[in-house]
């Protein structure tokens, strides 16, 4: 874990350097599309307004370049073919740079795959009645009992979500308060290390310095949910192409994240297989005519399945829209049920509010809201990303919520465990204890 600390710290230093230069790139590696946003930070130029301004405090950066391209060589949000993924990244970065007329050297990357797993950790440290300092916060975070995250897993996020001082819980910032024992709850998100390494390698091959990594489920939650929803407890479901990510927020912090490895691409494949048409045509039919709730009118709305095989009968087939809905609906239901299972496993029912926000490209299917309400509960809404300055109209749809969330994350990163300096005396003591433990177990 220490090793990863150093990597994450290095990325934080990169982020700081990028902020100093004033230009940072955002790369959202998805299964079906890669998005790159170029942000310009002008710290000295904050519009002074009473209370929360129209930009909700996000006005200190501006999108100066945006580009999206079809992702290649990706499967389930993971890099499958390195060269192809690299080409996609190069294409999108070059296009965005052309729009911005600025070169980016630092990029923050989000990805949806790598099977994230959430852990809730608790740590405690004795204070003896003195004031809580930043070193104490670092100590209590370092004291959290590290679970066995498994071989080949890496920590992606380690965010303190709650502090408790003696018997007072729910503190967001305990510094400066007096108490006897400080307890911290930390949310740890681990991912497959090889996937992360592949992504880092891909960025390095594109001459970009990695200034941060984020799970796209988390980024989508940051941008698609309003502040109240993040506070009172709600889940954001990012319906992507290869994966459906879900993140649960409570009191402004992410407390759980997971992904279901089914997405919109599977719906397309179902259509393609079910109707015997190419994937490209299936995708087109899905986006143009797709739906989830069939009505009587849909029986009469015929969709031509044009093809170029030369077989007259085959080339002039037609299906009704209700047939298409009949293919799409079971798969979407499957996705939503899988999400429901994950939410149940995470104990979402225990939250004070059970609001669910659906976002991502898959959320644009007509009728999803009512279908989701039937499966996930009544408090479902479709979420679009927060508006940020300079974002082109074409990139304001729900499919871009994780890219926009990543931009917000770049501007205001959540405090992570590695942002606090570990007290020097702790680290050798712990390793010494570990060494003693190892001796006891083995001799």
């Amino acid at each position: 874990m220490i090793q990863l600390f150093e990597t994450q710290r290095a990325m934080r230093a990169m982020r700081k350097a990028a902020m100093q230069r004033g230009v940072m790139g955002i790369v959202d590696l998805g299964t079906s599309k890669v998005t790159c946003l170029i942000l310009r930070f002008d710290s000295g130029h904050m519009p002074e307004t009473e209370g929360v301004g129209s930009m909700a405090g996000q006005a200190q950066f501006r999108v100066i370049g945006a580009a999206t391209t079809r992702a290649r060589g990706m499967r389930h949000g993971e890099i499958e073919v390195m060269q192809e993924a690299e080409r996609a990244v190069r294409t999108v970065v070059q296009t965005a740079q052309k729009m911005a007329q600025v070169r980016i050297d630092h990029a923050i990357v989000s990805f949806s795959g790598a099977s994230p797993r959430s852990y809730g950790l608790t740590g405690e440290v004795e204070l003896g009645g003195r004031e809580v300092s930043e070193a104490d916060v670092a100590a209590v975070l370092a004291n959290c009992d590290t679970p066995d995250i498994g071989l080949g897993r890496a920590v992606l996020h380690a965010q303190p979500v709650n502090f408790a001082l003696d018997y007072r819980s729910g503190l967001s910032d305990p510094r400066g308060q007096l108490g006897n024992s400080l307890t911290a709850d930390m949310h740890l998100l681990t991912v497959d290390q090889t996937v992360v390494q592949n992504i880092m390698h891909c960025m390095r091959r594109s001459d970009l310095e990695l200034a941060g990594l984020a799970s796209s489920a988390y980024a989508a939650g940051v941008s698609a949910m309003v502040e109240d929803e993040q506070k009172i407890g709600s889940a954001c479901i990012d319906l992507g192409a290869g994966t459906s990510g879900l993140s649960i927020f409570l009191r402004g912090h992410m407390i759980y994240a997971d992904t279901v490895r089914i997405g919109g691409m599977h719906v397309t494949q179902d259509i393609s297989k079910g109707l015997g048409i190419p994937v490209a045509l299936a995708e087109r039919i899905k986006t143009l005519h797709g739906g989830l709730i069939a009505t009587g009118r849909d029986d009469r709305e015929m969709i031509p399945l044009t093809a170029e095989t030369g077989d007259w009968e085959h080339d002039r087939r037609e299906i009704s829209r209700s047939e298409l809905i009949g293919i799409m609906r079971p798969r979407v239901e499957e996705i939503l049920e899988a999400v429901r299972d994950r939410l149940d496993a995470a104990g979402f029912d225990d939250l004070p509010s059970q609001k669910i926000v659906l976002t991502g490209g898959g959320s644009q299917v007509p009728g999803l809201a009512s279908l989701a309400a039937r499966i996930l509960g009544q408090q479902v809404r479709l979420g679009r990303p927060l508006r940020i300055q300079g974002l082109p109209q074409a990139a304001t749809g729900p499919a871009f919520s994780s890219a926009v969330g990543l931009a917000l994350f770049a501007a205001h990163p959540q405090d992570e465990c590695w942002d606090f300096d570990i007290a020097n005396q702790r680290y050798p003591a712990r390793s010494l204890r570990r060494a003693v433990k190892w001796f006891k177990e083995n001799w």
């Binding site: 391209t69 073919v81 190069r90 070059q94 001459d207």
Partner: protein, 300 residues
């Protein structure tokens, strides 16, 4: 599975156009976007290339010849304009003789172009003339070369072994002169080094004015003191210092004892404490005779 080995012709034809930039293209694009290289390529490089091209083109002998030809043509056409022509020389403050000498010295064929004249050179040239104390040369755009001369005033004549010279009050040569009669109004000095002590000589002539026509010249002796030569071969030998006081003393003696009217060939005041006179032969004989009488040696 896609083919891992690329490069076969048939495969390449089957691959649709790939919008992705190659690594090289991507890197070049990023380099192009970095401000330093961009400025270097857009601003610095073209200027350098232009300068280099001009340099290469302009240093070929044929081009140099053409360009110098242009320059000469342009210059000639400007010089030939009537506004820049100088048609005459106006000379003020010079005597006719000096004026002729100056005209000869300047030696210009009018009309002359304004650009061909360097007044400073002409001024320096004219200042070397003996008779010219100071000269100002200016070019007036009306078409005249204006020369204002301040002549040296001849104050004294100096006879030296080579000839007779006119000197000004500072002892600077003004002109050569053939005859003493040419400037009978000026006093005469002789002897080597006489020109170096002209101011003193002038003061002495001033002091010796009561002598009137009797004064012929001052003669410089050994380049250190003056002898005053009067008519009847009388000589007043003056000291090196205090010559004027000695002169006045001689005049006082002359006034009191009519000294200079007597038969005295030399009045020696070289040692002011001991003025000495050398009598003429007749006076000497008369003195001898008187002495003899006094002593009763002589019989008459």
């Amino acid at each position: 599975m896609r083919t891992l080995i690329r490069g076969r012709k048939a495969d390449r034809a089957a691959i649709p156009h790939d919008p992705a930039p190659s690594r090289l293209q991507y890197r070049l694009n990023r380099m192009w976007l970095s401000p330093f290289i961009r400025v270097a390529l857009i601003r610095v490089l073209p200027v350098c290339l232009l300068i280099a091209a001009l340099g290469v083109w302009g240093t070929r002998p044929a081009q140099i010849a053409i360009m110098t030809g242009w320059i000469v043509d342009v210059r000639a056409s400007v010089e030939a304009r009537p506004e820049f022509q100088i048609r005459q020389m106006s000379l003020t403050g010079a005597s006719p003789v000096l004026a002729n000498a100056i005209r000869e010295r300047v030696g210009l064929e009018f009309p002359v172009s304004w650009f061909d004249l360097d007044p400073e050179v002409i001024r320096a040239d004219l200042a070397t003339l003996d008779a010219v104390a100071d000269v100002a040369v200016s070019v007036e755009l009306g078409g005249a070369l204006r020369v204002v001369v301040t002549e040296r005033e001849p104050a004294i004549l100096w006879r030296r072994p080579g000839g007779l010279e006119l000197l000004d009050a500072d002892g600077y040569r003004v002109a050569y002169i053939d005859r003493r009669d040419g400037r009978a109004d000026l006093p005469l000095i002789t002897g080597r080094g006489g020109n170096a002590a002209v101011p003193e000589a002038l003061r002495l002539f001033d002091a010796a004015r009561p002598l009137g026509d009797r004064l012929i010249a001052l003669k410089r002796q050994g380049e250190r003191r003056w002898d005053m030569v009067l008519t009847d071969d009388q000589v007043i030998q003056l000291p090196e210092t205090g010559a004027r006081a000695a002169m006045e003393r001689v005049l006082a003696m002359d006034g009191a004892m009519d000294l200079l009217a007597r038969d005295i060939s030399v009045v020696d005041l070289r040692n002011p404490l001991r003025p000495t006179v050398r009598m003429g032969p007749a006076a000497m004989e008369y003195l001898q005779m008187t002495r003899d009488f006094r002593q009763g040696l002589s019989v008459q």
